[in-house]
């Protein structure tokens, strides 16, 4: 700046009117002049599973605006704060400009050829020495469906390892397995429109206000003024919407649901016709529930009094249409799968399936968790096919023209099993795609130790994530707006995401990374991808693969998807514009009998409960301004400022014990780790003895404390509850544990068995 300019700037003769002016845009009206787009590209948001339609404004080859599409049935013109600022992460400083290779300890930019040949050579050598399964892949819910399909094919059929799973195991797996248990297949049964039609909406472990705020739009559109029930141990922002807030004890939702079923059947409020015609297993189910879940017992487990239980049961069963929706509070649990099925049980006995406003609805966390479930080739063969089923294997092999022998006969290791296998030394190479385990996986200390044992860690990402930092090879990926394909949202709506701009620097769309990488393996490219030159080709193959399956894409095309604002599968000759709800009267469940299964399921207490050294229960989750491990949202100033670091919600009573107030800093310790320097937020949104910490932040890595316990069916981690202690400056030793007082009948009960005596002796000895 010249001296005159400096003087002018100081004296304030320039108020930069141009920079802050608005201009008329033919499509969106007034927009900021400095970033007035040259064109708008219709696309889909790439953050969460709500699946909002949006327009990306493009100027000089850069994404400059994101605006909600008012014609899109999901969001009707609105977007959440992340979507509204999504264009700002596309050129973040942390974008990876080119492939990187670790040389002399540091990651250095290399050519794609060098990155690929180095990696391929290592993979081949490891597989030759240790077997095909020694290479494992962990992917994501963030890619486009076509990319998942490419990656899955390559990993399972090209690399020949079935040790392939996605981070979706950390979020959606329990919903998948629960739906499979109950309905015979994965596939969310309802749709967002049900929020608009329901008389009762029960949100269980779903904090939509923070995590899926756009769904509030659908509730707001419900003209019936539905009764909203929120079941959550935390009085979340969502709980504020509730007509009835149910503050259950942590992870007692399965008992609660079973208890409601008990009351409904006891009172004769169940829908007999529906049960008879559309379900199976009722007799055993009823017997189980009536025997084990009487209201008094359930009240004791959940902390919800009997009167409220009856009231809840009456409201739910009495509604013409009751919708139940859940997210991670249910899924991220060692009882996740069964809790999902229990919620389905409740819906089934009250006839809430396949009708307007009545559905047990799983809300997904990531933009395309559904896509990987459908065609990702991780927990199932593309098109919801079973590994174990010979017909499924043969059918798939025939459609894609490969030898049926190549199709794995069983699922390989799930995500946590892969980490175990790395720890054991069984898996030597790991390829991580668009996920950041160094923030998101539970029990970080163990994970980090395990990853050190790898011969090679390959990370494919658009952003320099914590995991990319420790990689040996980094594949520089393109991100949202730079590539084309489909995302499927929570309501099975396949949305089209159009490419708006070119990939950053020397990065490539994941589709092309996989395709190019496959050429480094003899014959693999020609076998799998010879005819798949662009995402559209993969989409055509997906249509063939899915034809006749539940997730039927055969009637779709990119053009039709765009015209309709997404299509809810199945989409075929019967349902040319898709189908809003699964398993209505005209559509049988994909079980052998065609009926939904009522399942006798059991609640179990926490495996890690509070005790003297760890007297509090830690709950983790998200906040509206941030997404997952913040590789994207952390780069956006306005979002970062609203939540720049983790905080800990603690009740005033616990704060008093620790002699801390809001703004002070404390440490959290558990059986596996300790996290320092978390800022205290004293709040009445958590119960005494419970705390909440968001998991987004690598600065306060709460997953160093969380529990590596997994649902035995879905392998989903039990993120939401573990026992911890808090340490303040004034009270470094933490909160004193207060044992529950035993009263009434139990007080005088003497313990007889030898085993129990031994236990009590040890307790005495310890005291």
């Amino acid at each position: 700046m010249s001296l005159i300019q400096k003087a002018k700037a100081f004296l304030g003769f320039d108020i930069k009117e141009e920079k802050y002016a608005l201009v008329d845009d033919p499509f969106f009206g007034k927009v900021a002049k400095t970033k007035a787009p040259e064109k708008w590209v219709r696309s889909t948001c790439g953050y969460c599973g709500v699946g909002c339609g949006m327009y990306i404004g493009v100027k000089n080859g850069e994404a400059v605006y994101s605006k909600g599409d008012p014609k899109h049935p999901v969001n009707m013109g609105t977007l959440c704060p992340k979507g509204l600022s999504e264009h700002r992460m596309v050129r973040a400083k942390s974008r990876i400009a080119s492939p990187l290779l670790r040389k002399n300890g540091a990651l250095e930019p290399v050519s794609w050829d060098e990155a690929f040949s180095h990696t391929a050579e290592r993979f081949k050598r490891i597989q030759a020495e240790h077997g095909k399964g020694a290479v494992a892949v962990i992917s994501t819910g963030q890619l486009l469906t076509e990319e998942f399909y490419m990656l899955g094919k390559f990993v399972q059929l090209g690399l020949g390892t079935n040790n392939y799973d996605g981070n979706t195991t950390l979020c959606m797996a329990s919903a998948v397995m629960g739906y499979k248990q109950t309905f015979g297949s994965d596939g969310p049964v309802g749709c967002y429109e049900d929020f608009e039609k329901a008389d009762v909406i029960m949100l269980i472990g779903a904090n939509i206000a923070d995590n899926h705020p756009i769904l509030k739009l659908h509730i707001a559109r419900n003209k019936k003024k539905p009764t909203i029930i929120v079941v959550d141990p935390r009085k979340s922002k969502t709980a504020q919407m509730a007509d009835i807030y149910v503050p259950i004890k942590p992870r007692t939702d399965l008992a609660l649901i079973n208890g409601l079923c008990h009351i409904i059947m006891e009172q004769g409020w169940e829908d007999e016709t529906f049960i008879r015609n559309r379900t199976e297993g009722y007799t055993e189910f009823k017997k189980h529930i009536m025997a084990h879940y009487p209201p008094q017992e359930v009240a004791h487990i959940t902390g919800i009094d009997v009167k409220t239980l009856y009231e809840l049961a009456r409201i739910y069963a009495g509604a013409d249409a009751a919708m139940s929706a859940w997210t991670m509070g249910v899924n991220q649990s060692a009882l996740g799968t069964d809790t999902v099925s229990a919620i389905c049980n409740l819906a089934l006995i009250t006839g809430n399936l396949g009708k307007e406003g009545g559905a047990p609805m799983s809300l997904t966390g990531q933009c395309n968790a559904m896509g990987t479930r459908e065609f990702g080739f991780t927990s199932s063969i593309p098109g919801y096919r079973n590994y174990a089923d010979e017909n499924d294997r043969r059918e798939f092999a025939e459609i894609i023209g490969v030898d049926v022998e190549r199709i794995p006969t069983e699922r390989g290791y799930a995500y946590p099993q892969i980490i175990d296998a790395i720890d054991r030394g069984e898996i030597k190479a790991l390829w991580v795609v668009a996920t950041n385990p160094l923030v998101s996986f539970p029990d970080q200390n163990r994970l980090r130790n395990a990853l050190k044992k790898l011969d090679i860690l390959v990370v494919q990402d658009a952003f320099m994530s914590d995991t990319a930092e420790i990689a040996d090879v980094v594949f520089a990926a393109a991100t949202w707006s730079e590539k084309e394909g489909c995302y499927t949202n929570s309501e099975r709506r396949c949305n089209y995401a159009k490419k708006a701009i070119e990939p950053y620097a020397n990065s490539k769309a994941d589709f092309y990374i996989v395709k190019a990488f496959s050429t480094y393996f003899d014959g693999v490219h020609d076998m799998l991808f010879a005819h798949l030159n662009e995402p559209r080709d993969a989409f055509e193959e997906i249509k063939r693969v899915s034809k006749g399956r539940l997730c039927d894409y055969s009637g779709m095309s990119y053009e039709l998807i765009e015209a309709l604002g997404g299509i809810q599968w199945p989409c075929n000759e019967t349902y040319p514009e898709g189908k809003k709800r699964l398993y209505d009267e005209t559509m049988a469940c994909p079980t052998p009998s065609g009926k939904a299964r009522l399942l006798a399921l059991d609640w179990q207490p926490l495996s890690e409960s509070t005790c003297e050294t760890t007297p509090l229960i830690l709950n983790t989750g998200r906040t509206v301004e941030q997404f997952h491990t913040r590789t994207k949202t952390g780069t956006i100033g306005i979002l970062d400022a609203l939540a720049p670091e983790a905080w800990i919600d603690i009740s005033p009573k616990d704060a008093a014990k620790l002699q801390v107030k809001s703004g002070d800093r404390i440490a959290v310790s558990g059986n596996r780790g300790r996290v320092e320097n978390i800022v205290v937020k004293v709040t009445e949104t958590v119960a005494e003895g419970s705390v909440f910490v968001p998991f987004h932040f690598n600065t306060q890595l709460i997953n160093a404390v969380t529990l590596p316990e997994f649902d035995p069916k879905s392998f989903e981690p039990n993120y939401k509850q573990c026992a911890i202690q808090l340490h303040s400056e004034a009270v470094p030793e933490g909160i004193r544990y207060e044992t529950d007082e035993i009263g009434g009948y139990l007080e005088n009960l003497s313990v007889e068995t030898k085993e129990k005596q031994a236990t009590s002796e040890t307790i005495e000895a310890r005291e």
């Binding site: 009117e17 499509f27 599409d69 509030k216 739009l217 009085k235 009740s651 809001s662």
Partner: protein
């Protein structure tokens, strides 16, 4: 426009399509980019309606506002306040998304020295950017902290209800973005609002008294727990206010100068009634006006646009800031002639006349200066003691002139000035005790308790040492040393007395600077409750 060929959905259904269809489908103003508003009838204006029962605290409105207006991340025209009341599980989290309340009696407009605020016919309080000089007085005056200074532009900017968009039938960014449909634009009948509805529907927890500016925003609130205290999410963030260094020096120097000038005038009066005291001369008069000559231009340094400082005099009708600028400008100008008149040896009567005018204008200037701070939006400033202190600071001017007298004239006459200085210094000390007592006895039921109590904490905990120094230095430099100077002067040791008086002058000046620094730093404005991390508003 290559993407938009004739058959693409965008051109078939543009986002700007009929609002009516959209509203029929959604029942809400949100989502669509166009809006149909009723024509305003006479006596009506546009306003926001905020439905706190619908808001989920998602911050969409904040982000959408900044995206629309290309504002930097920390310039927030719309903010979401967060409050909590009750105890688990009957906890109430209350969100308040607020931009401008487009008040009927806007303090920003009244106080603006450059008349940069315009109440448009449709009721929108519009800020005229080109005339703003960035004095930021509106950011002090608005009890909601709505106007915000943008250092990139050197001016204040604020929400204008997307007036350009509204006039073109387009939805304001915040309204469009809200997924809960919690923000709407409505027409309000002003008289009816003032007479009946404002007291019921214009109020929300933690917000200032509606009588200050008569805001138009209508609230729909959930059932509020009675007698419960609402806890703002940013209660733990207690940052001292901006130190305003140019203003610290400007105010103290101008007050000192008016004080010194009063001493000169006092001397001239005593002489002209025939008392045998030393006559003021050109040097004395020059010394008296010098601090104002230094101090006044300093004030321009706190402006975003110092080059336009002179336009601050524009709004003498309603802005104390304009009045101060005019009066102190005039004082300095006239007082600058006084040394010249002494030098020219004009008649005593003329001198008295000119000095009286200058002093009168100067005193009014200090009064106007103090009235700048007597604003409802800043409770710790809005006290009579502010005016008393501003005048009180003038004793330093008496010390200054006394020092000069001791140096030049020996003991003769200086004791008179020293005595006045001691009296005024004593008054300043009393004001400090008054302040201590005031903050010790704050009434918890006072609607201003939250802000005043935070000022107390700032004074006691953040600036305890400066506060102590302020008191002790005042005793030392305004009482003890002047007394020693009087004694020395009585003992015919004028040079020793002069040295002591000089130390007293400098020390008292430093003490006043410290006091004024505390004054600026410990103010806690009224405003919206904030965000746990981001607080409430940039200052």
């Amino acid at each position: 426009m290559s993407e938009q060929t004739s058959d693409t959905p965008l051109s078939r259904n543009t986002p700007m399509e009929s609002f009516i269809n959209h509203k029929n489908a959604t029942g809400m103003q949100c989502g669509n980019y166009t809006i149909d508003l009723p024509e305003l009838k006479p006596g009506q204006q546009y306003r926001f309606h905020f439905d706190a029962t619908a808001c989920v605290g998602c911050h969409c409105c904040e982000v959408a506002c900044n995206e629309q207006n290309a504002n930097p991340d920390d310039i927030k025209w719309r903010r979401v306040g967060e409050l909590e009341a009750g105890s688990f599980p009957d906890t109430l989290q209350l969100f308040n998304s607020m931009s401008c309340n487009h008040c009927i009696d806007p303090e920003c407009l009244k106080g603006c020295p450059t008349e940069s605020y315009i109440k448009l016919d449709n009721g929108i309080v519009f800020h005229d950017d080109p005339t703003c000089i960035g004095c930021q007085y509106c950011t002090w005056n608005c009890p909601y902290e709505v106007p915000v200074f943008n250092p990139d532009r050197g001016i204040v900017t604020k929400c204008h209800m997307c007036v350009d968009k509204l006039e073109a039938g387009q939805t304001p960014a915040c309204v469009q973005a809200c997924p809960a449909g919690a923000i709407q634009i409505e027409a309000v009948d002003i008289d009816k609002w003032l007479a009946e509805d404002m007291a019921k529907e214009g109020v929300a927890p933690h917000l200032p008294d509606v009588e200050i500016t008569k805001p138009t925003t209508r609230y729909t609130l959930p059932e509020l727990p009675e007698g419960e205290r609402f806890r703002p999410a940013d209660e733990h963030i207690l940052k001292p206010a901006h130190p305003e260094w140019p203003l610290v020096f400007m105010t103290v120097l101008t007050q000192l100068s008016v004080g010194a000038f009063a001493a000169v005038f006092f001397g001239q009066v005593l002489r002209s009634i025939g008392l045998a005291l030393p006559a003021p001369d050109a040097l004395t008069a020059l010394l008296a006006v010098l601090p104002a000559m230094i101090g006044l231009p300093l004030s321009a340094l706190h402006l975003g646009r110092p080059g336009l400082a002179i336009t601050a005099m524009k709004n003498w009708r309603s802005s104390w800031l304009s009045r101060e600028a005019i009066a102190l400008g005039a004082f300095t100008a006239v007082a600058t002639f006084v040394p010249l008149l002494y030098y020219l040896g004009v008649s005593s009567a003329l001198l008295l006349f000119v000095e009286a005018i200058a002093l009168g204008v100067g005193l009014y200037g200090i009064y106007a200066q103090s009235m700048i701070y007597r604003i409802k939006a800043r409770p710790s400033w809005n006290r009579k003691s502010t005016t008393k202190r501003f005048f009180g600071t003038g004793y330093v001017g008496f010390l200054l002139i006394a020092t000069l007298l001791l140096l030049r004239e020996g003991a003769n006459g200086a004791t008179v000035l020293l005595s006045v200085a001691m009296l005024a210094g004593m008054a300043q000390i009393l004001l400090i005790f008054e302040e201590v007592s005031f903050y010790r006895h704050l009434d918890k039921e006072d609607p201003l308790f939250y802000q005043l109590d935070r000022t107390r904490i700032l004074l006691q905990e953040h600036f305890g040492n400066i506060k102590k120094w302020r008191l002790y230095s005042l005793v030392a430099f305004a009482l003890i040393l002047p007394f020693v100077a009087v004694v020395l002067s009585a003992a015919s040791l004028p040079h020793a007395a002069a040295a002591i008086a000089l130390v007293a002058t400098l020390g008292a000046f430093a003490s006043e600077i410290a006091g004024r620094y505390l004054f600026y730093r410990t103010v806690v404005p009224l405003g919206l409750a904030g965000n746990f991390f981001a607080g409430n508003q940039r200052h």
